[in-house]
C-alpha cells in the first residue's frame, strides 16, 4: 500500500508528466495533426501563427503536423529498441555473470566487441544492407538499433550479478538444490531491477538519439516523417542560415524533452529503491515546512527543539 503511493518528488512528477504527454502524442499524434505533413500547399516560410502554430517550411509544409506525425515513429523505434536491447542485456549479463567460466568469457567477448565497434558506423552499414521497404519499418529499425545498444547494459548487469552470486542467500538456494534458471530469475533478477530500470530508460534515450541521428544524416527513408528527417529537411534547405528557427527547433526540443523526462524518472527509481536518498531528498520547501534550516548530513543530526532558553522556562 505504502510502496505503491504516488511519487512525491517533484523531479519524478515533472518527468512522468512530460513523458506521458509524449506517449499520448505517440498514440494520437497522427490523428490530431491539423494538416497532412506532406502537403506543400501553404505559403512557405511562415512564422508561427494561429493557422500554423510552428510555422511552415521552405517547401510550404506545416511544421506542427510533421512534429506530431513524426512523434509516433520516433517513440516507437525508441521503445522497441530500448526494450529489445534491455532484454538482450539481461540475458547476456545474467548468464555471463552467474554461470561464469567459458560462458562468461564468450559472452563478455561478444559484449566487448559490440562496445568497441563504434555504434553509428555499424548502424549505417547494417542499415544500407536493409531492403528499401524495411528502412521505413520502425520494428526493423528498432531491432537494428537494439543490436548496437545492448552491450553497455550487459556489462553492468554482469558485474552486479557477479557481486550477488556469492552472497549467502544465493549460495543457500544453490545448496538446497534450486535450479539454475530459478536462482537467476527469482533470487538474482529482482535485485537487478533498479539497474535494469535505469538501463531501460537510458537505452530508450540512446535509441531515440541514434534514430534521429540516422534520419538527420538521411540514412533512413527520408519520406517517413520523424524528428530526425524533419531536421534533415531543415538542414538541407539551410533553415539555420535563413534563421528559420521554428523549423529546426521543434524536433530538437522534443528530443531534449524526452531525454530530460527519462532522466528525471530515473532519479525517482533511485529514490524508490533507496529510501535513504528519499529522506535526504526533502525539497527546500518541505525542509522549511518541518523547520530544518539545512539538508540533514551524516555526522550532523539536525536539532528541532525550542531554543534552550525556552526549554528552560518550560522545565
Amino acid at each position: 500500500m505504502k510502496a505503491l503511493r504516488i511519487p512525491r518528488s517533484p523531479k519524478v512528477i515533472v518527468g512522468l508528466v512530460i513523458l506521458s504527454v509524449f506517449i499520448v502524442l505517440t498514440v494520437i499524434g497522427p490523428w490530431i495533426a491539423p494538416y497532412d505533413p506532406n502537403a506543400n500547399t501553404f505559403i512557405p516560410n511562415l512564422t508561427p501563427s494561429w493557422e500554423h502554430w510552428f510555422g511552415t517550411t521552405t517547401l510550404g509544409q506545416d511544421v506542427l503536423s510533421q512534429l506530431l506525425v513524426g512523434c509516433r515513429v520516433t517513440m516507437v523505434v525508441g521503445f522497441i529498441a530500448g526494450l529489445v536491447a534491455t532484454l538482450i542485456s539481461i540475458a547476456v549479463g545474467l548468464a555471463a555473470g552467474y554461470i561464469g567460466g567459458r560462458t562468461d568469457e564468450g559472452l563478455s567477448l561478444l559484449a566487448n566487441v559490440f562496445l568497441a565497434i563504434p555504434g553509428l558506423p555499424l548502424l549505417i552499414v547494417i542499415n544500407s544492407y536493409l531492403p528499401a521497404g524495411s528502412q521505413a519499418n520502425p520494428l526493423v529499425v528498432g531491432l537494428v538499433i537494439a543490436l548496437t545498444g545492448w552491450a553497455w547494459g550487459a556489462r553492468v548487469l554482469r558485474a552486479q550479478t557477479m557481486s550477488l552470486r556469492d552472497r549467502d542467500f544465493v549460495e543457500a538456494s544453490r545448496i538446497i538444490g534450486e535450479k539454475r534458471w530459478r536462482i537467476m530469475w527469482s533470487e538474482i533478477g529482482p535485485n537487478l531491477l533498479p539497474i535494469i530500470a535505469a538501463s531501460l530508460l537510458f537505452t530508450i534515450l540512446y535509441a531515440v538519439g541514434v534514430y534521429s541521428t540516422l534520419a538527420f544524416l538521411g540514412l533512413t527513408n527520408v519520406s517517413t516523417w520523424n524528428w530526425g528527417t524533419m531536421m534533415y529537411w531543415a538542414q538541407s534547405n539551410n533553415a539555420a542560415l535563413a534563421n528559420e528557427w521554428w523549423w529546426l527547433a521543434p524536433p530538437g526540443v522534443a528530443i531534449a524533452l524526452v531525454g530530460t523526462s527519462l532522466a528525471l524518472i530515473n532519479f525517482g527509481i533511485d529514490e524508490f529503491i533507496n529510501p535513504r536518498l528519499r529522506a535526504a531528498g526533502l525539497t527546500a520547501r518541505q525542509r522549511r515546512r518541518v523547520g530544518l534550516t539545512r539538508r540533514p548530513r551524516l555526522g550532523f543530526t539536525p536539532v528541532l527543539r525550542q531554543s534552550p532558553t525556552d526549554a528552560k522556562k518550560v522545565s
Binding site: R276, A279, A280, L282, Q286, R289, V290, L292, P296, R297, L298, G299, F300, T301, P302, V303, L304, R305, Q306, P308, A311, S315
Partner: protein
Amino acid sequence: MSSSDTHLVLQVSNFSVDYGYADEAVRAVTDVSFSLGRSRVLGVAGESGSGKSTLVYGLTRLLRAPGVISAGDVTLRLSGAREGETIDLLAASEDELRAIRWSEISIVMQSALNALNPLHKIGKEFDEVLRVHDASLSKPQRRERAEELLALVGLQPDRLQRYPHELSGGQRQRVMIALALALRPQLVIMDEPTTALDVVTQREIVSELHDLRERLGFALIFITHDLSLLVELADEIMVMYAGRIVERAPALDLYRAPRHPYTLGLMESFPPLTGERVAMTGIPGSPPNLKTPPAGCPFNPRCAHAHDRCLSEMPPLSDIGDGGRSVACWLHDPASPLEVPVSLSRPGESTPGGVK
C-alpha cells in the same frame, strides 16, 4: 554517582529523538534524562528496537537522516586545555563537533571488520589519527604511542604491521577500542562492541575495559542487550523500553532485585554463568510499534502485572528511594493500593538463586 556537579562529564535532560519529519515522525527516544560522572560506567540495556543505539547516536549527533533530535539538552564538560568549559552538543556547530569528536568523545561500533580499512595496516590507522591530532609528534613517537595503545588492550606490538584480515574478530575489536582511546577522550561510547564475539572473548574484553577505565579514567557508556555482561562492568544501569527509561539503578542492586517487570523479564532471558539451572522464561510478545504505541504504559500488553491504571496512564520515572533507584511502574507508586508482587519487591540484600 559523584555528588559534586564539577565531576559530571555528560548531562542529558529531556532528550527526545524522532525518525521522520512533521506528521510522519515516529518518536524513537522519549524524554530521557541522565548524567554521567567522571570515570563512571553507564550501562544501557534493552531489546532490539528499544532505542538504546538511537539514544547514543542522537547524543553524539551521529544519527542518519531521517533522524531528528526533537527536544532536550546535552551538555558535555570539556577536558585538557579547555578544562572547565562546557559545550551544548545540540547547539554546537559542525566545526565545534569536529573538534571534540575523538579527542573528547569517541565511539566504538559493533562491526569492527567494516570500520577498519582493509588496505591499511593497523599501524597506519594509529599513525594517521595521532599525526592529525598532534603535529609535533615525530614518527618514532607516534609509533611508540601506538604500541602503548595496543599494549593497553593486550595486543602485541607486531600487530601494527598486520592488515585487518590477518586479525581475529576479537583482536579487531580490541584494535577499535585502542583507536577510540588514542586521543585520551574522557567519554567513550560503545555500541554492542562484543555482540559479534564469543562469550570467552567478550569476557576478556569486558574485564580489560574495567581495568582501562580505572587506569585512564574515562567515562563509558556501554550498550548491550546482555544484562549479565553489564552487571560485571557498569556502575549504573539504565533499562530502556520503547524509547523510554523504565528503570535506572546501581548495577548490583538492579541485578539482585529488579523492580520493573521488564527488567525482571530481561534477566530471566539470560542464564547465570554460575549456579544451578533455572528455567528461562523470557518475555512474551514483542516490542510495540512506535508508530502506534499502546495507551498507558508501553509495556502493558506484555506485562504479567498490568492492571487498569497501566492501560490508561503512563507511569513517570520516579525515585523509589532504595539507594537512588528510579522505576517507571505503577506497582511502585506509593499511592497505589496494590501489593507489589514478591518477584519485584525482593530486598536488595538477598541474592537470587546461585549468584555470588
